[in-house]
Amino acid sequence: MSALRWGRGAAGLGRALWPAGHPGLLAEEGALGGVWGRRRSSSASPCEQDRGKDWGHAELLEVLEARVRQLQAECVSEVTVKRVDVARLPEAGGFQPPRKAQPGATGAAPGLSGRWAEKLDKEKWTMQKRRQRLEAKLEEQARKLAREQQLRVEPRLLNGQLAKSLQRWEQGGPRSPWEEPLAQLLQEAPRRLGCEAEQAPADRVAGARLESQRQRLLAFLECCLFTGHLPLAHHVLVVQHSRSRQQRLLTLAMYNTVMLGWARKGCFKELVYVFFMVKDAGLAPDLLSYAAALQCMGRLDQDAGTIQRCLEQMAQDGLQLQELFVGSPLCKEDQGVLLRAVRKARPGFSPPPRPKPPPPVSSSPLLREIYAKDRPVSYPRLHLPQKKLEGLFQQQLRVEMATTVTVESVEKAPRLTPEVLRARKTLKGLRARWEAALCRALQETKASEAQAARDGRPTLLPYLCLLGEREFARLLLQTLQALPPQGESLLWLAQQLGLRAFNRHIVQRKLLSNQVRELEKRYSQYLHLLASDAQVAEPCLPRQHWEALGAPEAPHEQPWPLPVLVQLGKQLAELLVGAVRMPSSLAAPQGPPKLIPVLYHVYSFRSFRQIGILKPHPAFTQLLAAAAERTLTFEAAEVPMLCPPLPWTSPHSGAFLLSPTKLMRSVEGTMQHQRLLERCPPAELHGALDALTQLGNCAWRVNGRVLDLVLELFTAKGCPRLGVPAPPSEAPRAPWGRLPPDTPPARKAELRRELARCLKVAREMQSLRADALYRLSLAQHLRHRVFWLPHNMDFRGRTYPCPPHFNHLGSDLARALLEFAQGRPLGPHGLDWLKIHLVNLTGLKKRESLRARLAFADEVMEDILDSADRPMTGRKWWMEADEPWQALACCMEIARASRSPDPAAHVSHFPVHQDGSCNGLQHYAALGRDSVGAASVNLVPSDLPQDVYSGVAAQVEVFRRQDAEQGVRVAQVLEGFISRKVVKQTVMTVVYGVTRYGGRLQIEKRLRELSDFPQEFVWEASHYLVRQVFLSLQEMFSGTRAIQRWLTESARLIAHTGSAVEWVTPLGIPIIQPYHHDSKILINGGLQSLTFSSSGDTSQKPNTLKQKNGFPPNFIHSLDSSHMMLTALHCYRKGLTFVSVHDCFWTHAADVAVMNQVPPAPRPRRESGRPLARALPTWDLSLAIVRHALLGGGAAGGDPPDLGAQPLPPLPPPALAPAADAPSPGVPRAVRPSAQPAHPARPVQVPGEAVLLRPQVPESLQERLGLPAAGHAAVGAQDRALQPGAGEALHLLLQLTPGVPAAR
């Protein structure tokens, strides 16, 4: 310490003594001063002021002095010595009086006398004094600096009493028993408990800002812990704590985090400091605080007495020791230490056994059958043996450990001309240089961030330390590579970079924490359930098996708060912009190359906003194009898995082996879904977890023959008609040469338009091409492998495969590329189903019975075989189909099957689809009991399948004819143009809330496609038609609109009370609509300030408009997905392969008939392409959902919207609305047992209570909500009598006026 001080003092003084404008020394100074950074300038400033005035004298003085000595001693070397002495003098002497330093000097110059000498003496004295003052100041500053330099350990407490006691203990010396203060501390009751709570932030905005700051600070502390920056975390905590104004920023979780860090290190002193701070902040230590303290004692091997006291205090605070081992999110190692400590005090203590999870029974009555143990089950197995699957697991593990997958592009390989080779070489050289430059830049950034952290601010430092510099550099270069020529918005890039960094960090963390070996072991055991050659004792679902194999996984890593994510990403993007440079002329490097940036930050103006964009230099884009490299890099989670995915066991664990995946995907930064899922009792989610697991467990392979054909087209000129995008070379070229100089501006304007059109087409083609390139490259990559598509769901419960580029949800082309890896013999009817499927794919025979379709297929058998044999050269029958590629694949399958000696034994891998007929309308028709509507969407048995679109078109035609007769011009013009195709999209989307506005646009588009329609009438005609379509729908689905309106109105009321609309699906998935008013987050500094608004912030008021308009479609989607999941689960129980594209279900041809029987429900036997079974569950589902809808589903833990707190604006206050009274979903009265068989002959016999909706609504309300008058009152009354309880539910649901009698 003293040496340091000396050094600094000397240096400081030396600097002060040197005249101005002495560059050499100053430069040296800079090097020295680098250590204490910013402080330097401030400490130097006083000297610099004086320098001009005084240092002239000083110099003179010194020269004189030296000269005197020189004369005396005649020794040159002494000069330097003395000079050093002078410099050191004040330092060594401390506060010695100035005179004492003088004698030597005065004595040394006895010969000097007279006034001059006197003056000199006097000046010398003043000088000395000044020097001394300065020195003292410098020293003070140096000491301060040293303090700053060191990270703070001791807290500065705001409470005087506490501070004193802390001081007392500190002075007791390092050996004093530190546990003593702790124990005493613990006994002190928290003094300022809850004072934070009192100062609730005045307004919402400030509250939100505070919350986001808290998030950032906590995330910073946690990250510090992970990267080993614990002292820094402690320092920041202490600094923040000492600023009383910022103290309310600190929460117990933050203190606990730091405490846990110290506990793991066994640093008791620091732990006690934190404890002091906790007390000082007036917080009451909780279970985790005690856990940290005990853990630390365990590590230090403290004596039993201290531990005993600690435990006693815990008991006094009302905290249970047992809970430490059950509820706390401690890792195994921590718990072990903790247990050691506890055992010391209580030798007999044993942690409570991990409670066996109660028999996992979902309360949803719909699922009872799924989880019933008493009936026979035949869960499917994979076709692969255990050994093989284990090998696949290893492959997948390797892929995920590498975090990226490099895939060869299917783009035609360029000829390796010298230019190409040179470009590749240049690129390689540049990349190597960039990587080094990025690493350097990262180091510099880290240094500056570290400096900022010393000021007590949570910075990015720990995040930047999470991954190696090289890894960051590679991540950035990968991003650079993928940047499109027209640039990418900085905000989006930042978010992507942040996310990728997070994902890599998670993977790395899992690798480091040794979870991999555990996973490996468990997975291999898990495979016993799936492998073809293994055995398990008892058949069970994959999730159940996985759970039985061991304890749940370690707690998952919380995602970083969005601001942190973006900030980190932005920092990385800035590094990229700053560090990556290339020579200005790549072609001919003469002389030292001038470096220019590769990335530019430019703005694009949208409306009156500007958006920052990072854009690559055109030369770089050219270079990339010239090099024509043939590899594509994907993130590991963007590629299908090579082994069966992990079963979903919780909202965070499932799917990929290492890459984190969410059960419910949501926009980044929306937390409410996760919170809702976490609060939900685990058993409630079983339906969704199992359904998703099952969808993901389907093994896939690539249909090689189709892929070959597609690739052939792709590498040639493409074929947009068949969905194979053309290469950029096929883009239209603007007719454009050099313009004559006198071209009028108007002509130029026309040219510009033409140019713009070409550009637009080219851009579209480019993006389509890129999309197809990704898909086909991945298909090629996976060609000879078996792979899996893990699934998750969106916030409404709709399921999606996680890998984005290559999956079965895409276009016709994408679907045709896939087939089941597992084959099944066709069986007696398989071939027929294949044929029917083919006819369905062609889009012909929409209104024909299955028999007729089959007959049609036999009729065109020759075409089918021709298509299969000579797809590109023959009659090309398949190309005319609605879904040409799938039709072709089907043709090939039929050809193979029919040519095999025994078609029934032919092993087919081909998925056969069963498509829903406008599911949305089915649900509405069911809910609204529209008999006509129900019939038109095949809810009612009928000999022929109905086609709702044709039905609507026919109805519109009826109206049109009437109008035409009355002389309406547009109606006359439209004669002969009203077809199924014109109305289809609008009818389909009406369910999802399309407005007249949007509907008109859709119809306009269709009309424009009709070449012989007089285009000048398009506007008027579309306007007219959309009205007619809505009218027709109203006519056919009288209930639909009413229900839609009713749902909308309910959502509006709920949103008005300040809650988001929540409900629970019949399978128990809690759903909340994430539409709130935007909250803005600002990230300042750097290239540009980034502002982004998030609508998922729950602290904001709900956005009524969105809540209201979103509710009906979201609700229907959730119904639909429940239906699908239920079917999936039933199919699994029957051993079927089952996947779905929302309302289109896929299975093997042999199993179609079985699938159509699922779920077993009353259902007339019929042979229609649209199995009635598909619609039936909705009758049952309806009430279960409707009951929870709007009540927030008490079982799932979501707080019901507080309807009682505030009278709904238009309705009188509800008579009762306590959540406790809400019917628990466990009571199975919602679902109508399947006792009442649907009668084939009669129109809809509605068993479900959903129908009660209408009879129950009082007249006044009906009017207000626009519900049609209750025509079914009698039925309703009957049902009510039959079904006690249902009415009650509805009463709650509707929040009726007090006058309405609540049914008992």
Partner: protein, 385 residues
């Protein structure tokens, strides 16, 4: 989360002028879409007024009502009308001129114009005024034509065709004069909109150098005329207008001389404080005559938007140095450019006069040795010049 920042481009008001203009553009089969990013949908909506998606606005009741409710100013004082006629005729006697009057309302000015022998086309969107306007034109041998603009309206190409207006080449004279009042709330947007039309020779400017005689608020007028001498008001809009047009102040009139009508021809009393404040102000009648020399070898309707972008970007950080902006505008060597336009390195954006900007743009545009001259432009790659 990335919620639309602005949604659809802000729609313009339904004033006859903008209405006609918009439709013109649409008629012209507009324009290039900025599909820079596939992520546009995420909320980076585009503001290019000529890019309104379709003719669909007539179908959107909420929007129509909103616009309809906006009050409109009308000339009601015969004295003012007389003065205006004098000013507009500019002393010339009895030259038959063609005026396109936007939203004449009660038709006071129309009458004055007609009495002075001018030919007038009156575009009115408010049905209430139509009968009266039509009555004005009786016995005048078709010197007055009244067009009721109502959505859905015909495309202005058709409108002009019906009215028998011929396009004049840019280098020739002025085909017609437009007279009107800028919408109260949307002056700025309308000005931008007109700029796009002007530089791209679409809408009314398809017919040549149409002269605008418009009432504009005094504040906005000052902004239009701003230059480095009053840097606080200086902005991209000023530069673009001054480069494009000769701007002449014809007349100033206090706000109070105008009457405000809501829809349906109801006279509105100024109730709100803000409108009272506005009443203290003047309205300026300005004449905007497009310059014959606006388009050159290097600034054409083909690349005007690059010029627009350059100015927007420059004025975003108006106090920054020009050289700093050049770095993110163009890959062309910034020092070279400065040398060519003879500006110093320290020159700030607000030190440049409108003509300097034009020169700057043309200098970059004609710089040799660079395949790519701008970083912004997204159809550069397809451009062959």
């Amino acid at each position: 989360m990335w919620v639309p920042v602005a949604g659809l481009p802000p729609r313009l008001t339904l004033s006859a002028l903008t209405g006609a203009c918009r439709l013109c553009i649409l008629g012209s089969g507009a324009a290039r879409r900025k599909d820079v990013l596939a992520r546009d949908r995420r909320g980076l909506s585009d503001f290019h007024p000529q890019l309104l998606p379709s003719l669909s606005f007539g179908d959107s009741p909420s929007w129509v009502t909103k616009c309809r409710l906006e009050p409109r100013r009308y000339i009601t004082s015969p004295r003012l009308a007389e003065t205006l006629v004098q000013v507009l005729r500019g002393g010339r006697e009895k030259t038959c001129q063609l005026f396109l009057e936007c939203n004449p309302g009660p038709g006071i000015l129309t009458q004055a114009l007609l009495e002075n022998g001018a030919r007038v086309i009156a575009l009115e969107s408010d049905r209430t005024f139509i009968p009266h306007l039509e009555s004005l034109g009786k016995n005048l041998n078709g010197k007055l034509e009244v067009v009721h603009l109502k959505p859905p309206i015909m495309v202005s190409k058709m409108l002009f065709q019906n009215l028998g207006i011929q396009a004049l080449p840019w280098s020739k004279g002025i085909p017609l004069k437009v007279i009107g009042i800028f919408p109260i709330k949307n002056e700025r947007k309308t000005l931008w909109k007109l700029l796009h039309d002007l530089y791209s020779c679409t809408s009314i400017y398809r017919y040549g150098r149409v002269e605008l005689n418009m009432f504009i608020s005094e504040k906005q007028y000052q902004k239009l005329m701003a230059n480095p001498k009053n840097p606080n008001l200086y902005q991209a809009l000023s530069v673009l207008w001054q480069v494009a047009c000769e701007i002449k102040l014809l007349h100033m009139e206090p706000w109070s001389s105008f009457d405000i009508y809501t829809q349906n021809g109801q006279l509105e009393k100024p109730k709100r404080r803000e409108s009272l404040e506005e009443l203290q102000q003047n309205l300026c009648l300005i004449q905007l005559t497009p310059r014959r020399t606006l388009f050159t070898e290097n600034l054409t309707p083909i690349n005007y938007d690059v010029f627009f972008h350059m100015l927007k970007q420059c004025f975003m950080k108006r106090n920054a140095k020009l050289i700093d902006h050049l770095h993110s505008l163009s890959p062309v060597d910034a020092m070279d450019i400065l040398k060519k336009i003879k500006k110093k390195e320290k020159t700030k954006i607000t030190n440049l006069y409108p003509r300097d900007f034009k020169q700057l743009f043309e200098t970059i545009e004609c710089s040799k040795d660079y395949t790519c001259k701008w970083l912004y432009d997204d159809f550069l790659e397809d451009r062959i010049v």
